[in-house]
């Protein structure tokens, strides 16, 4: 493996991150030169410098190997999370090194979990950086690099092979160059539209922009301690519900819908399943909340239930209510949503609806095979036959996911967390949801966890964001040379 080539491409990603830090410093400057200005400016400079050296010395290459591709993607995420700590560390406040690491990883992996007890104390520049990290993370550090830095040439295809899950790639019927354009078109477009709508609904420009970035990145970072509950506005919640729901759908399908192509959201079985799941779970939870008397009228129960279900399923993690006080049925269903999450090819994390759908089909096929031993049964999605390798990968992923959740729960309980907190925090971190239940509920945060556990949680977030195998494979490659 050519280490210098790997470093060069990681350097490119760092330049991109530095640009966002600089933009955040600009926000600080516009807000009466708040205390975030110099930490952000220095961080931008440090990050740019770190990224500059490889670009200065290593020439671009036309071909990169698979191992190099993996190393670039995983390395980019890790380095992004590390340099993302700089503004927090330099600014100080509640940000100890572990807290800064947690917040940075939480942002880039779009988990949205926080260690901050008083978010509103942060200067605007820092809040913008938080939202930026979520926005960059939403689309994937490397995917951004692919579009912004055209010098990658043929290696662009290699990198996208590593960055995007196999299922997501199957749904894209375009060339890699087009895929990256689609991602940017849909992502930037959605963010801009959401910003305008939130402004129209009553938020100020800053809040609407940061919340739009966070919603489209399915991160859930808010600028308020009470999250979306602060605004208590049905219009804002409705806009965010739509933005989050769309962000949980495959971007290629969204693009196809906008451009009037055949494989649009109305024809996609996966999207139908996803929307159906959101609707049915919301209704069941609303009925449960209403009958238990948690909300006085059904409308209110439906409003909060829909927001929380969409927020959790899309792995955003915004909150309008304290879900810890909800019924057991509601909690179990929300945990289910935390596991399944959105569609492949979207900014959401978790197991993905696609995998659940395929797993159900595989189970169905297996049962049919029990009856007809010699039958040749193929698994199809939207008329496309799924390869055996894809099916095997899906089932392996599900097993790995469950094992990781169990390991996570054991570690959390080892550190003294109760079972609810341990189990749900483990899922919330691996699926990049953010809020769990118990001590890490929708209105609480991860501040009270011990430092080691915060570090472990951040690691789980990274593993989840890199679709488990992307991260693990890094440690199991026989030879890096």
């Amino acid at each position: 493996m050519r280490v210098n080539v790997v470093i060069r491409y990681i350097g490119m990603v760092m330049q991109f991150i530095a640009a966002f830090m600089l933009a955040s410093a600009g926000v600080s400057l516009l807000n009466d030169y708040d205390s975030g200005f110099s930490p952000l400016l220095l961080s931008a400079f440090l990050t740019a410098l770190l990224g500059l050296f490889p670009l200065l010395f290593v020439d671009r290459v036309d071909e990169i190997k698979t191992k190099e591709g993996y190393a670039i993607v995983v390395g980019s995420w890790l380095v992004a999370c590390i340099v993302g700590m700089f503004p927090y560390l330099i600014w100080g406040g509640e940000f100890t090194p572990v807290n800064a690491w947690f917040e940075s990883v939480s942002g880039f992996t779009t988990t949205g979990a926080s260690i901050l007890n008083d978010i509103e104390f942060l200067p605007r520049g820092m809040l913008f950086w938080r939202a930026s990290s979520a926005w960059i993370g939403g689309i994937g550090v490397v995917m951004f690099a692919l579009v912004i830095l055209p010098s990658l040439g043929r290696s662009r295809h290699m990198l996208s092979n590593v960055e995007m899950s196999t299922i997501a790639k199957d749904n894209f019927h375009y060339r890699t160059k087009v895929i990256t354009r689609i991602l940017i078109f849909v992502y930037v477009g959605m963010t801009l539209i959401t910003t305008l709508l939130l402004k129209y609904a009553g938020m100020n420009w800053f809040d609407s922009m940061t919340h739009a970035m966070s919603a489209c990145g399915t991160c859930g970072f808010s600028t308020k301690n009470l999250s979306i509950a602060f605004y208590d506005s049905a219009a804002i919640e409705a806009i965010l519900i739509v933005a989050m729901t769309l962000s949980g759908i495959h971007f290629g399908v969204l693009y196809a819908t906008i451009t009037g192509r055949k494989n649009n959201i109305f024809r996609s079985t996966i999207v139908r399943t996803y929307i159906g799941m959101l609707a049915s779970v919301s209704i069941v939870i609303a009925i449960s909340l209403f009958t238990e008397g948690i909300y006085e009228n059904f409308g209110e129960a439906m409003r909060h239930a829909t927001f929380q279900v969409v927020s959790i399923t899309t792995t955003s993690g915004f909150a309008t209510a304290d879900t810890n006080t909800w019924t057991s049925l509601a909690i179990v269903l929300l945990v289910f949503c935390s596991v399944i999450c959105g569609c492949a090819g979207s900014t959401s994390g978790g197991m993905k609806v696609d995998r659940l759908f395929i797993a159900c089909k595989v189970i169905g096929n297996r049962m049919r095979l029990q009856q007809h031993h010699s039958a040749v049964i193929r698994t199809k999605i939207d008329g496309t036959v799924q390869e055996e390798s894809t099916l095997s990968l899906v089932m392996t992923f599900i097993v790995a996911y469950i094992m990781l959740v169990l390991i996570g729960t054991i570690v959390y309980t080892m550190f003294g967390c109760d079972l609810t907190t341990g189990f749900t925090a483990s899922i919330a971190c691996i699926s990049n949801v953010g809020p769990g239940f118990g001590e890490v509920g929708s209105m609480a945060n991860y501040a009270s966890l011990p430092a080691l556990l915060k570090f472990f949680s951040a690691l789980l977030m990274l593993v989840g964001r890199l679709e488990i195998f992307g991260f693990i494979q890094l440690f199991f490659m026989r030879s890096w040379r």
């Binding site: 210098n4 220095l42 400079f45 410098l49 770190l50 500059l52 050296f53 200065l56 010395f57």
Partner: protein
Amino acid sequence: MFDRVKNNLRINSLARRLRVAFTSIILLLIFSGAMSLLELERVSHDTEEILMASKSNVDIAGEMIAALNEQNDAMIYMAVVGDERESRRVQCLNSIEHLRLATESACERMSTTENVVAADSLRMQAERINQMATDYLDKRVHLHILETEAADSITPFNTQIWYADQYKVQYMNMSRHITKYMTGTNSTLGPEVNNLSHTARRAVTPVFISLLVMLVVVIMFYYFLRVYYLNPVLRINRSLGDYLTYKMPFDEGIEARDELKTLRDHIAQLISKLN
């Protein structure tokens, strides 16, 4: 024109690469140093402000205590000892005015720190004790007039009991209020002290992080220099040495670029001319 500018900007020579690298490192050092200095300047400014605020609080409290004690002295002389000289009366009147003024400035400071309730309480207590002293002075004047007209027909005003039962209680209350003012105003400096510690941290952390980044940059710098310059130079040297000891031919396949590539090509050219 555009191509010329582009070519000028392109970093494709050893000298240019090194120049950019060193300039960046120097800029980083200057920038992080400047930032630390800026934050240190802020620390110094904040410290000065906190100390000034604290000193000012102590001064005002001192003025209040001095005025209160002055008033108390005058009251003891007049009410307990029975010293009815005009100078005592003037002393008492002065102390009333001093206490009023000192309390006003204390209340003004407290209202700026949003401690309005405590300010009102202090003001009321000062007014109460001042009113008591004023009443006493008025009553003494009144009694004096009465005594000269019909000294035996009135019940004498027992000033000692009045001092012990009424004035002293208010005096103690006022002392407590002044102490409260001192501790209260100093505790309102708490957030500023916290800010100060944050600023102090911001002055140290940039240097620490810059050093870490510098370490990484230096390692990278060394790695790239070794891979792209040192190793090719060593290989050219070895190959040239081999050639001189008749281990022909000169290895032209050495991976080199920019000035090193030119050097390798020139050596190869020279050898071909010699041959």
